[in-house]
């Protein structure tokens, strides 16, 4: 982590390693000072950092809800439909994020122009940011990725012997879904939850710039404009840690759940 941030100083010091080392030591010293924390909290307030977290948390919820819905209705689809759908979704996934963000932005403006229906707020300010359109865009990519990734596992769960036996014994499908399918899917889900979070951050970067909403990633981008004398790398490291904090918390939580489960089993 730190290494990447300090690559910052590398191209500026093409002469030798001395500058790199001195910046590294200087940055380490500065990182744990009170001023740094103070500056960070001011910057967090300035760029409206909570917006990013709110949007990401909301869209994570939406994504998971849709995934559960998909898993619930999965047995009702035909095999062929699902295969076709997966193909389409793969296509969608490989389209560049920027393109989709730009296109949806333009499209919502066009709708407003043509019909003068004010569907969503497309350009916000840091004080009153747009919510609906960013939320939709942030949710699309992870959802597509999730469905693509999870479909084989969902299929496996539905075709497992346990499920077939239980169904033939007369358990209702909704009861089986909540007591067997979801717990089984969870173990696969936790593996990619972190990846999805990281993907959301990437999409968020473009949304924040495009919709002028302000947020953590805008702050991160603005660090590029900080002059070299006032330690831009310090701010970069701070922002990166802030962004990755939920990631670490999430992975810690999952580990904790595992520990609890294994201790229960051993009892």
């Amino acid at each position: 982590m730190l290494l990447v941030c300090l690559s910052y100083s590398l191209p500026l010091s093409t002469s030798g390693n001395d500058l790199l080392w001195s910046t590294m030591i200087e940055t380490m010293k500065q990182l744990f000072t009170y001023t740094n924390f103070f500056n960070l909290s001011t910057a967090y307030q300035q760029v409206n950092g909570s917006y990013t977290f709110k949007i990401i948390a909301m869209s994570l919820g939406i994504t998971l809800f849709f995934l559960i819905l998909y898993a619930y209705f999965f047995p009702k689809f035909k095999n062929k439909t699902i295969k076709k759908m997966i193909d389409y979704l793969e296509d969608t996934e490989s389209l560049p994020v920027v393109g989709v963000v730009l296109f949806i932005h333009w499209f919502s403006v066009m709708i407003y122009k043509a019909t003068s229906i004010y569907l969503f707020k497309t350009v916000g300010t840091p004080r009153e940011p747009a919510v609906v359109v960013p939320l939709v865009i942030v949710s699309i990519y992870p959802l597509v990725f999730l469905i693509n990734y999870m479909t084989p596992y969902i299929k496996d769960v539905y075709q497992s012997n346990y499920f077939i036996f239980a169904k033939s014994l007369g358990y209702s499908s909704s009861k089986l879904f909540f007591s067997y399918v979801i717990p089984n899917l969870f173990s696969f889900l936790e593996r990619i939850l972190a990846i999805i979070y990281l993907e959301m951050i990437t999409v968020m970067l473009f949304i924040e710039i495009q919709f002028n909403t302000g947020g953590l990633l805008t702050g991160l981008r603005n660090t590029q404009r900080i002059p070299a004398e006032s330690y831009p790398q310090l701010m970069v490291i701070n922002f990166l840690y802030l962004l990755l904090l939920p990631y670490f918390i999430m992975s810690m939580l999952i580990k904790l759940i595992h520990v609890i489960i294994t201790s229960k089993i051993s009892q």
């Binding site: 982590m1 910052y8 296509d91 490989s94 560049p96 994020v97 730009l102 333009w106 990437t202 991160l220």
Partner: protein, 314 residues
């Protein structure tokens, strides 16, 4: 059998579309540039003299950008750069990662290489990719602008090289890891054990015994990596770091317009990305072409892999 034939047919059609575009693009400089209108400085519309940018309705087929260059010509010119840069980058990435991962069969190499690779892999996934590129390439660009008063072709070439190097290194660790896992899986198979007992060397194993599996994986990966690289190009263009260098034009007092020199597609999108509201066609038309290219590549991948699965390879 019929499905295999169908896949082959589809593959031929798609590849011929791709190559005809490529041919068109290569013919641009010698032949086509004389035939097309490249720049419209001014035009008379509804009896009044008008200046660029022109919309697609005023100048067929795709309109012009703010300097009056027609987008149609630019798209044709830029396609070869977009495709070839992406292709070379992906081919190099795949070849080097295949080489590195085949070296990891030997235990001392594996002990040194794999921890490094997995560390960098984790690092690059944790930092958002567009920002990582901005972080690594941005300072070079600043330094270069600072050093060179007017950007020379040689400087542009160096910058392109640095960009490609960074893109290459960013993509490498995950690929090496993937190939390493695949090789480890193949080495555990029975036929690998058998041929090793019969005296096949490690490299011979990879060259002959694993060739069918690796071929499918590689052809699948090549296009996947190509698509990923194409989307990385757009990230770069979003931050005005164009492949092949850029030129800052002064349109008016205090208004600057950064132009790509190569007219490469992602650069075309990036150079007018702030003008989505005023001249949407300058952004959206290259974007549509870009998406079309990616969808075409996806279809090629599907036909290629689908065709290979049905072949009797061993």
């Amino acid at each position: 059998m019929s499905e295999q034939k169908r896949n082959k047919k589809i593959l031929w059609i798609l590849c011929s579309i791709l190559f005809s575009f490529l041919l068109l693009s290569f013919l641009y400089e010698p032949v086509l540039s004389d035939l097309f209108t490249i720049r419209v400085n001014k035009a008379v519309i509804d009896g009044q003299l008008a200046y660029p940018p022109f919309s697609p309705l005023e100048v067929r087929p795709f309109g012009t950008d703010i300097l009056g260059f027609t987008i149609f010509a630019k798209i044709i010119q830029g396609f070869k750069y977009t495709f070839l840069i992406g292709l070379f980058l992906s081919v190099f990435q795949i070849l080097i990662s295949l080489l590195l991962s085949s070296l990891t069969i030997y235990k001392p190499v594996k002990a040194v290489l794999m921890p490094m690779i997995s560390y960098f892999d984790k690092l690059f996934t944790l930092v958002p990719k567009p920002f990582l590129l901005l972080l690594v390439i941005g300072p070079y660009y600043q330094a270069m602008l600072f050093n060179a008063e007017d950007v020379q072709p040689a400087v542009n070439l160096i910058f392109l090289f640095i960009q490609l190097l960074v893109l290459f290194l960013v993509g490498l660790p995950s690929l090496v890891k993937l190939y390493h896992n695949e090789l480890a899986y193949l080495l555990r198979q029975d036929f690998a054990d058998a041929s090793q007992n019969l005296g096949r060397s490690n490299f011979g194993l990879i060259r002959y015994s694993f060739r069918p599996q690796l071929l499918i994986l590689t052809s699948n990966l090549l296009i996947k990596v190509l698509i990923q690289n194409l989307s990385l190009f757009i990230y770069l263009a979003y931050f005005n770091l164009y492949l092949g260098g850029s030129l800052v034009m002064k349109i008016d007092v205090g208004i600057h317009y950064t132009v790509t020199l190569s007219n490469e597609w992602s650069g075309l999108i990036g150079q007018s990305i702030n003008r989505l509201a005023s001249t949407p066609w300058t952004v959206l038309i290259p974007l549509i072409f870009y998406s079309g290219l990616i969808l075409l590549l996806n279809a090629i991948k599907r036909a290629l892999v689908g065709g290979m699965k049905n072949q009797r390879l061993y």
